[in-house]
């Protein structure tokens, strides 16, 4: 049965489906992220609430709060794709069988799906509880989606790194924070503009920044992941 290695897109799909099946049976990652986000959101609602913030400040402050909530919530679950493999000692089995790039892509796809689910729950809930009514709804959700895309790509590579180190839980946000900071700032800024700006003139630049962050981190991750996976 000697044959060349499989096309890695179909391999990535196999890994994605395998992880999706595990995740659907346990739902650990998505539950922990959603619950963490909802808890922080509840805390924000109790302590600040929708009416303490003067209307003029609302777009900027609420956009920043939303990014902070999503950042910390994602840090509770996105590392699971790799940490679980190391802890269950399945990582070596997978390493021997799969192409590293396909592993990265498959795990990334699962994390993207997880974060899409989390965003779909958390952002509307945030808007309702904090009385946050963005002026340009479509742009607002589009920017959120792009921001989460970049966050997930960069976090997935960091997750691979921390899965091989000790003290994983604390290490994840420590390593991810400086990498994600420019993205989080740019997203929060674009969100606040989508919330209150009179026109959409800012969108071109916001899209450019977010798309190029995602693109660069994706391709860099594709190259660098192999070094981590085999480390």
């Amino acid at each position: 049965m000697a044959r060349a290695s499989t096309p890695w897109l179909s391999e990535a799909a196999a890994i994605f489906l395998k992880d999706l099946r595990s995740e659907l049976r346990t739902k650990v990652a998505v539950n922990s992220i959603v619950l963490f986000a909802v808890i922080t959101l509840a805390l924000v609602s109790y302590t600040i609430g929708p009416y303490r913030i003067p209307p003029a400040e609302k777009p900027a402050i609420l956009s920043a709060l939303l990014m902070i909530i999503l950042f910390f919530a994602s840090m509770t679950g996105l590392s699971r794709v790799f940490v679980k493999e190391e802890e269950a000692r399945t990582a070596d089995t997978l390493r021997l069988a799969a192409d590293p790039q396909a592993v990265f892509l498959g795990k990334l796809l699962l994390n993207l799906l997880t974060m899409a689910g989390v965003t779909a729950v958390v952002v509307p809930l945030f808007s309702i509880l904090m009385e946050f009514h963005p002026m340009h709804i479509c742009s607002f959700y589009g920017i959120t989606a792009l921001g989460m895309l970049g966050l997930t790509i960069a976090s997935t590579l960091i997750a691979a790194i921390i899965s091989k180190a000790g003290n994983k839980g604390a290490l994840f946000p420590i390593l991810a924070f400086p990498i994600l900071l420019p993205l989080l700032l740019a997203t929060a800024d674009a969100l606040s503009k989508a919330a209150a700006w009179p026109d959409l003139s800012f969108m071109g630049q916001a899209l450019g920044i977010l798309v190029s962050y995602s693109g660069i981190t994706f391709f860099a991750g594709l190259i660098l992941f192999e070094k981590v996976w085999r480390a």
Partner: protein, 205 residues
Amino acid sequence: MNRIAVEGVSYAYGRHPLLQDVRFEARTGEVLLVRGPNGSGKSTLLRLVAGLLHRPSGRVRFLEGDREVPEGDLRARLGMCAVEQNLYDELTALENLLFFGRLRLGGDCAGRAEALLGRADLHPHRHKPVRSLSSGMRQKLKLLAAVVHAPGFLLLDEPGSNLDARGMEFLAGLVEEQKDRGPVLLATNDPREFGHGTREYALAL
């Protein structure tokens, strides 16, 4: 004719040298028994051969005839079963086999997987999650996962652990069949497995 050529591989944990200048060659039809006391580096040697550990010196070549298997193709040619390499607990026995088969072959291997499950007396349990299988069943399933793609090279680290008499028979059949396909490296200290060996490589502490 497949060959595994280990050429001058050394390894050290920090300052403590574990393996020094290991050299051997194993070819189709051979089962090379790697023996040595606990801590002599049997598992480490197999991990070095498989490329799971970075080799600081020396090299390992996998040859099909005179052609060396490129590193990227190795995962379709090599199978390995070791104590610290687990299957996915929450997936069923069959799902595990299909997953690893698909990764390594790129296609569907349902027929072969079902047949293998039958040979290992695991067919009735194929839809149970691995978590719920006994340790012996799990060991047999790991062996199946290592050969689901009919590899040209096979590495076995303590393959008989947790196996009963019937399980050992199954293992013997597997090794017998595999050695016609390519060389087998078998690391063990279990006398029940010594019979498989056609040659021996002894590691000293």
